[in-house]
Symmetry: D2
Subunit: 390 residues, 4 copies
């Protein structure tokens, strides 16, 4: 079968000490310090053989994630920008949906023919973190499309405990094609869901929610805020095309920070104006530039406000913690999408029609056009780029 | 000015021991044991004089509450059905909106001209409950339209700390007439909001919410479940007119329990069928018949499910607590609507357009038609009955 | 090796329909409807062979649990009292500690020589409940000493993910013999811990905690309330020997309900007196007679009080839910002890010296005296009965 | 009567813009920008006249708080170090206990003769923050000993809703003198209690709690961690005398960061060593130097760990938010001690004997020795300095 394979050179940066783990497993813990000259290409790959607890899924739709983009981008020395755990060459892609075509003999609760999606984080279920109920912090994590074969291909084998049926979307929405796309959007939506509703324990309906950054994760945050009864949703985003998507996703007010600045207004002031000086109950960092966004959040906190950090950035943010004391506020760091009913809840929200993430898809390609699709995603214009296998 | 005054005879039932408190204050703690032959009538009443911390409000719209109805209903011996704290004769009515026409000299944060609504529970702010942050359990409670003058009249004086502006509804919805009605619906909506989101700490978006009873409180619960991102909303209601309202309020599935029963199905089975045997995360008792509804809830609990009791009933419910153990579930009792940001959150939800409670209004009358309006409400056909002063 | 084996006759009660699952697995879902003439005996049993993910544990100490007692008790027709999932003949015993003597080749994070204890609930890690983080409600549960070989013997094999080191108890308490007993008490303590701190989310330090029943689970609840900063601990218990243990475990006030009753006082009144009429913030049902205890709890609820149900009883409890509304209170059903950091937290509490569960041990026997030990436990006089293998 | 009066010169710093509020009320919002040449002195002051809702309290014991010390300290230009809301000259002192000698005619629930303490924060009960249940963020706050007469004198008048009986301490501990001191320690203990158990929602019993700084607030945090069932308490403190107090208060391990550093170890490493690399569940900043302490906390977070900020510092802390994401952790800012059952819970903990804050008192003086007492406190050697009126 054909698949989009990311290849790269194992070329540890001078001075980077390759660990024993890295040497034996050929997995880079800090990808950006080892992988050089990455390039994606449509290539022949072997069909996976499902084990006794695996299901074999015929892939239908695959979304391109920010990390897929970072795989392809390099610094001036040719090193990959993506900083995390990776093993190449690898079929990439982890936001996907498909239909089960075969099941291992120990598989439970799933059948051939089921339309499904899957968690990307393959938590071990046995380490301390997994045992105490925080699988997003698994100590022996494997990741679909990062350390094991991903979904930008025809078939993928996944252990049953990571697979979730999307039958309810198909049945309640009554449109199978749409369901494949919705299914492929469960994982990125789950990232925002975990951050907002699990890690940060949500907001009271009627609250003001501010989202910084309207890429796919920020758009998911906006859509979820809309679905979950925010009283007011404010978004900040530099790109015009994404501001339009933010509006469509449900934001009540959307600003270009640069334009605001030209008028002598800072984002925090806009939030204070909209809220009559009361501030916002939840602030979501989905822009990946916390040094710029968090200081704005600090100045527009409602009493008992929440700052939710989803975007990643390897930098120190100068925080004025007094602001969090004076406003009785808190900050939550979040990563992942696994466990905690995230997948079944997002799926049911989509099935109900109360969450339509397909609004954020702006470009569609076939799998054969995968390289072109990645180039489109690299431009960062628009929202989600979606691949279809057929 | 004219007002709807509820009069009744102070006639303690034989055997009922009138307490010292009742004797001195002329407030009945157990209204149904003291008040006899109640009757509402449009009568002349004195205009209230606002104190230094009061605002004087020109009333615009007033909803009729279930307790207003219970004031007028009697048992076979002529005793009032309403069992709670009351002092008659009294201008009744406590779900209202209006415009501030005068403010006392110590009033803060409110201005003449502001469109407002008010909490019905006049918590003292000084007792143990108030000091620890649970004003709905105030030990020295007064209640608008129960122990002090209510809103079914032209003017009402209320202390500033119970009054909430609805300016955002007027401005964001752009329809002042609609805003008066929305404002008058904040209080009953707040009863369901407190129960579902404060007392019971809400549900995760995507959850199944089941509501028993589609009177105004149940309809508010359905509307709030819809606004707050339930993944599936199921309602049970005997009256056809109310089942239609339940649908309009956002329920995905609405059943007549009697009709179900004729088909050999019980409510719990319907819930289990809809959820693929997983059960519902939240069950709201808004029917006031817990002996009939709670046993159904027990059998359709999701793991970590919640039973939320809003409806009142002076009866013991035979609960199978094993069911709550096996399903790792919990039950929450709720009363009131005060404090906890309930009013500002409900108001902002309405202002945002994400909650439109006006859908549940089925009958509108003028204040002068108040007696007729009460008769309509007494019939329990339809949803909310709304009075307008102009 | 020798072990205490519980044997019983597979003799389904007339009218009980044996399910397909029961027929094929030889596990009784409702033990009390199938098993007849149970008898424990010290017998030869085969040594277990650890699988690749198992550790082999040399057992050191084993506590006798209430369910072990119910295995041996019968009704008038000779049927076993224990109502749950069971497969006999079986080596019973599941509250234990021991030392690892062998590890399978895939075992992680554990070494030969480690002193350990283990969860009794062998959750599958793959069903819906396990995947959403509620392993105590696993759909494919196996149980040590119920459906698979238990610990009243020399060796037991357990999968690594259920095994927890008690090294910190040995090191910080500095007494290995004491550590074996402490380790064997982690599981029953965990039952109360899960109920009080996970399911019910604990109490604020300084709260009043009332415990009904001072058997081992109630004594664990008292000890935990003491360790976790209750401001007042009240216990109700009929047996004098257990009232003494309740005092030793940390209860500030301990009552015999029958004696109270002879003085014309009910338990709820005693609680109200002690709290100056404010009521208790947490009420723990550990007596297994909710029809008697819950009505007492209802009348002594603090505002925002909690009722925590641990004791099991297959009966309906007539609850006055109004009481939970008027007091803004809640009820939590609990079962199990798995997941949620329960084991590591209980172990660390013991290691710190802030929780000493050994106080509740009143009888010690050797494994060879197991039958005598069970007879002692059957008398229900005293606290925990502990077996030692050496 | 005599009282310790703090006088200072109203001398706004060049460039500081005195606000309208400051001009009219003579309250400085930023004390350190207005008050110069502060000096405390024992002087004659007028006896307070209790209003209708006030109680008059004969003061028995008064603790010296860090802010009292900051009142007396100045920068190189003679400006007061204390940065907050203040109105001088003022009788200072706000950590106190005493006996009610007179009550206003509207006073509820309090009697002449009651031993009591009081909240220092006089929340208005009417502003938005108070109405939504967060009185520590009152918009119209007055403060005992800051903006109104404090307790370092013979009599103080306080509105009933801020006053809490300590009768239970007297009765249950059986030592009135000790109860006066305990009562005077409720307020500072409440600051740590609010931060740890209300704002941050506590820790699960058995957790590791790390406290940075062992001044009175840090010592209260340690004592509360001990009372509430921490599994391990670690403290970092530079002063030897305070390290001894930390041990006495219950810390299991106490380090001098400088000494650690000389051994090449950083605090975070010490925490990781103690916890077997798992990190600590709660980290309390009570040193007031977050730029130094928070980076240590970030590196020793347990998964789902909490950072609790109590110490104040007008500086930006360079935070590595990735650390909070990778560890699924959170940060809480806290200020105050009012509301949320803090006072009654701390009092009951003390009454039960499970919290003995008197251990942290190292110096005792009479009121007449107040100036000397302040000098002692200024040295920062030792723990709490306590004044007695008799």
């Amino acid at each position: 079968m054909k698949g989009i394979v990311l290849s790269a050179e194992w070329a540890p940066r001078p001075g980077y000490e390759v660990s024993e783990f890295e040497r034996t497993t050929k997995k880079a813990i800090t990808g950006s310090s080892i992988w050089r000259h990455p390039r994606p290409a449509l290539r022949d790959v072997e069909e996976p053989q499902p084990g006794p607890r695996d299901v074999l899924i015929e892939v239908k739709a695959i979304g391109i994630c920010g990390s897929d983009i970072h795989f392809c981008e390099t610094d001036t020395e040719g090193y990959m920008l993506y900083p995390g755990l990776t093993r190449f060459p690898q079929v990439i892609g982890h936001e996907f949906s498909g239909r089960i075509v075969e099941i291992g003999k120990e598989v439970r609760d799933l059948c051939v023919g089921d339309p499904v999606t899957a968690e990307e984080m393959l938590w071990c279920g046995r380490c301390f973190s997994c045992r105490i109920g925080v699988p997003n912090h698994c100590e022996y994590l494997e990741e679909l499309g990062f350390t094991v074969q991903g979904a930008m291909t025809r078939y993928i084998a996944v252990e049953d405990r990571f697979v979730w049926p999307i039958t309810s979307i198909v049945e309640q929405r009554g449109d199978e094609e749409a369901a494949w796309e919705a299914g492929a959007l469960v994982e990125p939506t789950g990232v925002s869901y975990l951050a907002m509703f699990v890690r940060s324990q949500g907001f009271k309906p009627g609250s003001t929610v501010v989202v910084y950054g309207a890429g796919p994760i920020g758009l998911a945050a906006i859509s979820l805020a809309e679905a979950a009864g925010a009283g007011r949703i404010v978004a900040f985003e530099s790109l015009e095309s994404r501001r339009r998507l933010a509006k469509a996703a449900g934001a009540d007010a959307v600003y270009d920070p640069a334009a605001l600045s030209r008028e002598g207004t800072q984002p925090w002031q806009a939030v204070m104006d909209l809220t009559g000086g009361r501030g916002a109950q939840m602030h979501v960092e989905a822009a990946g530039v916390p040094t710029r966004t968090v200081p704005q959040m600090e100045r527009a906190l409602a009493v008992d406000g929440k700052i939710v950090i989803i975007g990643r950035a390897a930098e120190r943010v100068p925080m004025y913690l007094e602001a969090l004391q004076v406003r009785g506020s808190q900050l939550f760091g979040s990563q992942g999408h696994a466990g905690h009913s995230v997948f079944p809840n997002v799926i049911q929200l989509m099935a109900s029609g109360r969450l339509d993430m397909r609004k954020i898809i702006t470009h569609r390609f076939t799998l054969a056009q995968g390289e072109e699709a990645l180039r489109q995603a690299l431009s960062r214009e628009g929202g989600k780029v979606m691949l279809h296998t057929a």
